[in-house]
């Protein structure tokens, strides 16, 4: 068994530097790598490019990095929950590349699985396809989208083991599996870090081969963006 555990978030993020490109898992605030983001804020590195479906909210998630003006460019599908984001974007401080959500997921998966590019129908005929190669297959038009290239992937799982194997909970899975192994270094933080052999090999969502470093996360806030309930009848 190849051991991937590191003692803490500081060791897990060794090597991150200004100007790098990061992938960050999560959908909204669900399943985001809270510990890695907090450490990136602490490290104060600048000019980061972030590939993340969303940009957090003003005071949590990637919003924390936006507040500190650490992000140069965001690559996302939806950024509608963040006033500071909107301000920086409209003022031109922040570069933004909006990408269809399925395309974003697949550009990560392509990087993970060694595909240089893929054809998707999403965005054909829209400004998303401007300047991109398009092509017809069986009478339908597709856009050629290249795989992402990133320096680090930061993902968050529910359970993990020393071998780097990961299991996610509910919809906190989202982009996290697609981003594992899609960057030069994949750093996984988990709610529960277990010895090798604790997880059923049948139930593993991401095999450890896609993960370079894994650590036990702490102080998960797991904030809910839209608490929605129904009344008891």
């Amino acid at each position: 068994m190849i051991k991937k555990t590191v003692p803490n978030v500081e060791d897990a993020l060794k090597g991150v530097a200004s100007g790098m490109t990061f992938m960050l898992g999560g959908f909204g605030l669900c399943g985001i790598p809270e510990n890695a983001i907090a450490e990136l804020v602490k490290l104060g590195i600048k000019d980061i490019t972030c590939i993340s479906n969303n940009a957090g909210v003003d005071d949590f998630g990637l919003g924390l990095l936006l507040q500190q003006h650490q992000i140069k460019k965001m690559i996302s599908s939806y950024v509608g929950e963040n006033d500071e984001f909107e301000r920086q974007m409209l003022s031109g401080e922040l570069e933004v590349e909006l990408t269809p959500q399925g395309t974003l997921a697949e550009k990560c998966r392509a990087a993970q699985a060694g595909f240089p590019a893929f054809y998707t129908p999403a965005g054909y005929g829209t400004e998303v396809a401007e300047g991109k190669e398009t092509r017809e297959f069986d009478g339908k038009m597709y856009v050629l989208e290249p795989a992402y290239k990133a320096d680090f992937s930061f993902v968050k799982a529910w359970k993990g083991d020393e071998a780097g194997n990961l299991i996610f909970k509910g919809t906190a899975r989202n982009f996290n599996p697609c981003m594992c192994g899609a960057a030069t270094v994949t750093v996984a933080e988990v709610e529960e870090l277990l010895p090798a052999g604790s997880l059923d090999p049948n139930e593993i969502h991401v095999p450890g081969i896609f993960v370079q470093r894994i650590f036990q996360g702490t102080h998960y806030e797991k904030r809910i963006e839209q608490r929605t309930v129904r009344q008891k009848a």
């Binding site: 669900c30 933004v96 269809p100 959500q101 005929g125 309930v229």
Partner: protein, 217 residues
Amino acid sequence: MLDKNGIAKRIAKEVKDGYYVNLGIGIPTLVANFVREDISVEFQSENGVLGMGPFPFEGEEDADIINAGKQTITTLPGASFFDSAMSFGMIRGKHVDLTILGAMEVAENGDIANWKIPGKMVKGMGGAMDLVASAENIIVAMMHTNKAGQSKLLKKCSLPLTGVGCVKKIVTNLAVMEVTSDGFKLLERAPGVSVETIVAATEGKLVVEGEVPEMAS
């Protein structure tokens, strides 16, 4: 004239037994409340869940179980969770039978715009571009006119497109329309709404053939 619940209720009639359905944010989300109870339907949310149930009871919310609108949800027996790549595999691979979403503008050829107002608002397309580029069956739920009273059913969209020639049906507060090669074909009038009112509120070509029935309630 229909309110938002009325639009959702009318669209719910388009949901057939055995359908997997993706509901967008806003009016589409309300559709789930009106689907007949004697048919089997499963709701997919593109953030990675199939078999969504109602919102949780107070105190039972789970931060790890949300829908694409970031709302806390529950799941029903037979539900499953999966990653974003597989979720859009379901969508792109045409396994989802019906997509219901909102729009800022729809053109008479089926083009849709719903993600960007240049210089004013850029929230992003989320999963909408994947959904409209893939689904065979796309219904738009929206008000017939915008807040300034201008028609949202146009000859040509003025805003950046989300997808081209993809919308099949539109249900608004005034009418039910089908997108045909001749333009918007008026199928039903909302209760108490005249054909003239609908014609006046529609900038794009509206095809009115024979007697247009009032929507059954």
